[in-house]
Structure formats: structure tokens, C-alpha cells
């Protein structure tokens, strides 16, 4: 039981570390590229901005959820 918990914790820590690297890359690449475009959109086309905002947050939710699920599955299989 204790061994299982320790293994789960180790897998989770590795998942968190990989996830942190991916998220940092994401900050620099995607947000940096999108920042100016979103700012222009927010000042000039509010309705389009509102639609894009919802699509972006929903899209990010689906993608990151998939990334964490795949990461967790892969790591669990590897450590089993």
C-alpha cells in the first residue's frame, strides 16, 4: 500500500516537472505571439475578441487536459 502511494507520488512529481517545462515553453511561444494580436482585437473588435477569448480558454482546457492525461498514462505504464 505504502509502496503504491510512493510510486504514485513519484509519477505525479515527474508529471508536474514535465508539465512545468511544457507550460514555460507555452508562455514564451504562444502567449508572446498572441499578446499583441489579442490587445489589438480587444481595442478594435470587441465582439470578435469575446468569441476568441472563449474559444482560446476552452481550447486550452481541452488540450492541457489531454496533455496531462497522456503524460500520466505514459508515466504510469513506464513505472509499473
Amino acid at each position: 500500500m505504502k509502496k503504491d502511494s510512493a510510486k504514485s507520488l513519484r509519477v505525479f512529481a515527474i508529471e508536474l516537472a514535465i508539465y512545468a517545462v511544457l507550460v514555460t515553453a507555452y508562455f514564451f511561444l504562444v502567449l508572446h505571439l498572441l499578446g499583441n494580436w489579442l490587445y489589438q482585437l480587444e481595442t478594435k473588435h470587441r465582439i470578435l475578441y469575446a468569441v476568441v477569448a472563449i474559444l482560446l480558454i476552452a481550447g486550452q482546457a481541452v488540450v492541457l487536459d489531454a496533455v496531462t492525461t497522456v503524460l500520466f498514462r505514459l508515466l504510469r505504464r513506464r513505472w509499473r
Binding site: L31, I54, A58, A61
Partner: protein, 310 residues
Amino acid sequence: MFFPISHSHINPVYLVLVGFLVGILGGFFGVGGSFIVGPALRLMGVDWNYAVGTDLAHIVGKSIVAARQHRTLGNVDLKLGLIMAIGTIGGAEGGAQLIQVFKRAGNVNTVVSWVAIFVYLSISIFMLWESQKTLRLGKRLSPRKPSGVKDADLRTDHSAFGPVTKKIQGIKIWPMISLPTSGIQEISLWIILLVALVGGFFSGFLGGGAGYIRMPSMVYVLGIPTHLAVGTDLFEIIISASYGTFTHAIKGNVDILIALVMHTGAVIGAQIGVVATQYFAGPKIRLAFVPLPLIGVAIVIYTLVSGHKL
């Protein structure tokens, strides 16, 4: 990191950590966590209008992740969630209109503060009484489980408030509908809409997603098992918070870049919160819920006493 839309400088690590914390709360309790995110953004110098709108955008993303996870565990009643979304949006508009009335009368801050204190305290006191009574009853009636067995049993969630819930379910006002996923054979559509309307009203009046009102209402008034109430509430929040995000974005109150950064932390937090619900029975989740509205009370009292808006 500079966020040009709201003209603010915020450390992204701070945003990720705030997102992580409210992600856990959201996944475990089915709440949006606006009572934490709003003040946390305000502390970093973000204007209130941006704090409110951005929080709603981040809630959409976090709720998608948590609701998806809850759905895989069978904790989402889609039919109930869709019906409730209609009532919530209607109620939110009503709450926002009442805010305008008090704004014109010039006493909006005082009225909203006292209503918030009363509502939050009532929820905490009632849930503390009910969950403790249910846990005591459960201990007396059921033998001890062997250690290591998961504590949660989704379909047999008991409550000391159960007899009152049964009476509410017995009210026959046409149309009557069934909610097989939630284990409810028959309930009036109007009662569901009323619960959603009240939740939506407080969402519009007090701000945030009002999960602290809707989740307990679903358990005590509609008789939904706690795990399903948490999952369904999250699904319903996706719809109502998307609507809120859209209207706030049009008014220029959403910095989507802040929401996106905060959401990266919330993804992990929400998953931890969802997994944790598997290890706790309904009354224990309800007991753990008690401090949340009290945090809201503390924040409101602080703003009343100090005169600051945090």
C-alpha cells in the same frame, strides 16, 4: 510579465499558483473560487472590473477540465445541468438588475456586503449542522469499514435533511421530469428552475459563479448525491460562466492572457481535486465545504471595516 489588455505587471508564477489552488477547490467542491481569485488579482493591482471578468474566463477553462474528469467518473447529470443553466442565466440577469437599482439608490456596497455575510454564514452553519448530524447517524447505523476501502459511495448519499428533501420532491407541479442519472424518479421542473434561478440571482448579485449556493441547494433541495451535485454544478458553470465571459468581454472587462496563464495551474489543481472526491463520502465533502463561505465572510467584513476593496 506585462499584460497589455489590463495594463498590469504580474508574476506568472503567482498566477499559476492561484490557479492551482482554486483548481483544487473547484475539482473537489464544484465551486468557481471567485472569492479567492477576485481579491488575488486585486492584490496585484488589477482593476475590479478586469478581476471579475477575467475570473469568469478562467472559471470556464477550469470547469471544462474538472467536468470532463467528473464525467469519466459518472458524476455529471447532463439533463439536469442543461435545465439548470437556463435558470441560472435568467437569475444572473435578475441579480445584476437589482445591483443597478441599489447603485442608483447609492447604497450598493452596504446592502451587498450585509446580504453576503448573512447568506455565507447561513450556508456554513447549516452545512456544519447537517453534515455532522449525518456523520453521527452514519456511525451509529453502519459498521466500520476495513481500512484502505474507498469511502465514497455515489448512489447512496445520506443526509440528515433527507425527510425535507423527500417532501420537496413530492410536490407535484406539472411538468414532472425524471433524472435517472441522479437517481431521482420524479421531480417538478419548476423546482429545478427555481433552485437554478436563486443560484443565478446570487451569482449576479454577489458575483462569481455562486457554486457555494448552488451545490448545497442541489444536495438539500433537489436531493442530488453530493458527488453528482459537484460534477453537474461544474458542467452547468461552463455554460453560465461562458455567457458571463462573453458579456464581460464585450464591455472590456476580460484580460484573456491573465486567464490563460492562471488556467495552466488550474488544470493540474482541478485534476487533483476530482481524484480526491473519490476518497471522501458525501457528508465529509459537505463538512469540508463549511470553511469556504467563511473565507467569503472574512473578506467582506475586512472590506466593510477597512473601507478597502482589497
